[in-house]
Point group: C2
Chain length 206, copies 2
C-alpha cells in the first residue's frame, strides 16, 4: 500500500462549516485539505488540482447551485478529479438533480465522519462509492415522478411565477400550464398548488 | 484569570456536521465538548449541565424547531446555561423567531471559527454576544413586517393549507383569511401568494 497523500478540496458556502469539515479531515495523515466557497470552487480546482472534491449540495444558504455544479463537474472530469457529494437523507429529488453531474461518490450527512473518510479514499482510487443509507433515496430518485416539462413548470411556479408568466416563459398556453400544475399536484399527492411546491421542495425536486 | 474548563453542548441534527463542529471546538484547551441531536438536546442539557449550548438554528433538514427550542430554552434558563445560536446571514425572520428563546449569543455561520470561540467564552461568563455581521439582520428583525396573526396565516399557508382550512384552524371567515393573504403578499412585495411564501421562507419568517 502506498501512503500517498490525497489532495481534497472541500466546497461549502458556510465558512464555519467548511472550516469545521476541513479540520475533521486534516486529522487524517493521508489527507491534505483546502477549502473553497462555491464562487471560488473552479479556481481552487484548476489551480490546486485535488484528486477529490467534496461538495455539500444542500446547504440552506445555497440550494443546489446546479449551473455552478455543472461547470465544476466539467473541470473536474478534465482533470480526473472525483466529485463526492454530501447529501441529506430523504431528498431523492436533489440526488436526481445532482447525479446529472456524474459524481463518483455520495455520502449521507447523517452518517459519522468515518463514512466520509472511507468515501474519499475510494473516490481517490477512482472507485465509485454510494453510502448504503442513501440507497432508498436513489431508488426513489430513479423513479422520477415528474416529467422534464413538469419539472420546468414546477421550478418556475416555485419561484413565484404566475400561470401567465410560466406560459410566456415556456411558450405554452395558459390551459396547458394549468394542466401541468394539476398533474404535478396529483402526482405529488398534494392538496393544492402551494402544497405541491412544498412537497417538491422538501424532496429536492426544485 | 481562572483557566476553568467550559462545558459546551453542540446541538445539530446532522451527525457529520455536529461531529465536525465538536472537533473544531475540542482543539481549544478551555473547552470540553459533547454533542446531541435536537431530540437528545434536553436530556444532554439536564444530565451533563453545560455552561453553554451551541445550536444551529437553520440547518436544512430541520427548519427551526421552535417548540423544541422553547423547551430547551426553559431548561437552559433554569440551569443558568447560556444559549448560543448559529445563524445564517440574511434571514431576519429566523432571527426574530429564535430570539423569542432569549439566547445569550448569536454568531453568523459565515464568520471564521474565531467568532464562535469568542462568543462561547463571552456567554460562559454570562455576557451577551451578537456578531456584528448580524447587526443589519437584527435591525430588520426588529421591524417585523407582519403581525402575529399574519404570521399564523402565513405559516399554515406555507404548509399547503387552503383558505378554508386556514379559516377553520384560526376561527376566521374565508374573507378575512383572503384579506390577510393579500396583506402578506403586499407587505412582502410579492407577485402572488406562492411568491409571498417563497420570500417569507427565504427570510425565515416561516
Amino acid at each position: 500500500m502506498g501512503a500517498a497523500v490525497i489532495k481534497v478540496l472541500v466546497v461549502h458556502d458556510t465558512r464555519l462549516l467548511r472550516q469545521a469539515l476541513a479540520i475533521l479531515l486534516c486529522r487524517e495523515h493521508d489527507l491534505e485539505v483546502h477549502t473553497a466557497s462555491w464562487s471560488d470552487a473552479v479556481t481552487g480546482l484548476v489551480s490546486w488540482q485535488p484528486q477529490v472534491c467534496v461538495l455539500d449540495v444542500d446547504a440552506p444558504e445555497h440550494a443546489a447551485p446546479m449551473s455552478q455544479l455543472a461547470l465544476l463537474a466539467e473541470h473536474a472530469a478534465e482533470r480526473k478529479c472525483g466529485l463526492l457529494m454530501l447529501a441529506s437523507p430523504s431528498r431523492p429529488g436533489l440526488l436526481y438533480r445532482v447525479s446529472q453531474a456524474r459524481a463518483m461518490g455520495y455520502v449521507s450527512k447523517g452518517e459519522p465522519c468515518e463514512a466520509l473518510l472511507g468515501a474519499i479514499r475510494h473516490v481517490a482510487q477512482g472507485e465509485q462509492f454510494v453510502d448504503t443509507s442513501l440507497g432508498w433515496d436513489f431508488l426513489q430518485a430513479a423513479r422520477v415522478p415528474l416529467t422534464e416539462r413538469e419539472l420546468s413548470v414546477l421550478s418556475l411556479a416555485s419561484q413565484g411565477a404566475s400561470v401567465a408568466e410560466i406560459a410566456g416563459d415556456l411558450h405554452l398556453t395558459h390551459g396547458t400550464v394549468r394542466n401541468y400544475l394539476s398533474a404535478i399536484t396529483r402526482k405529488t399527492g398534494a392538496r393544492n398548488r402551494v402544497d405541491a411546491i412544498r412537497i417538491s421542495q422538501k424532496a429536492g425536486w426544485v
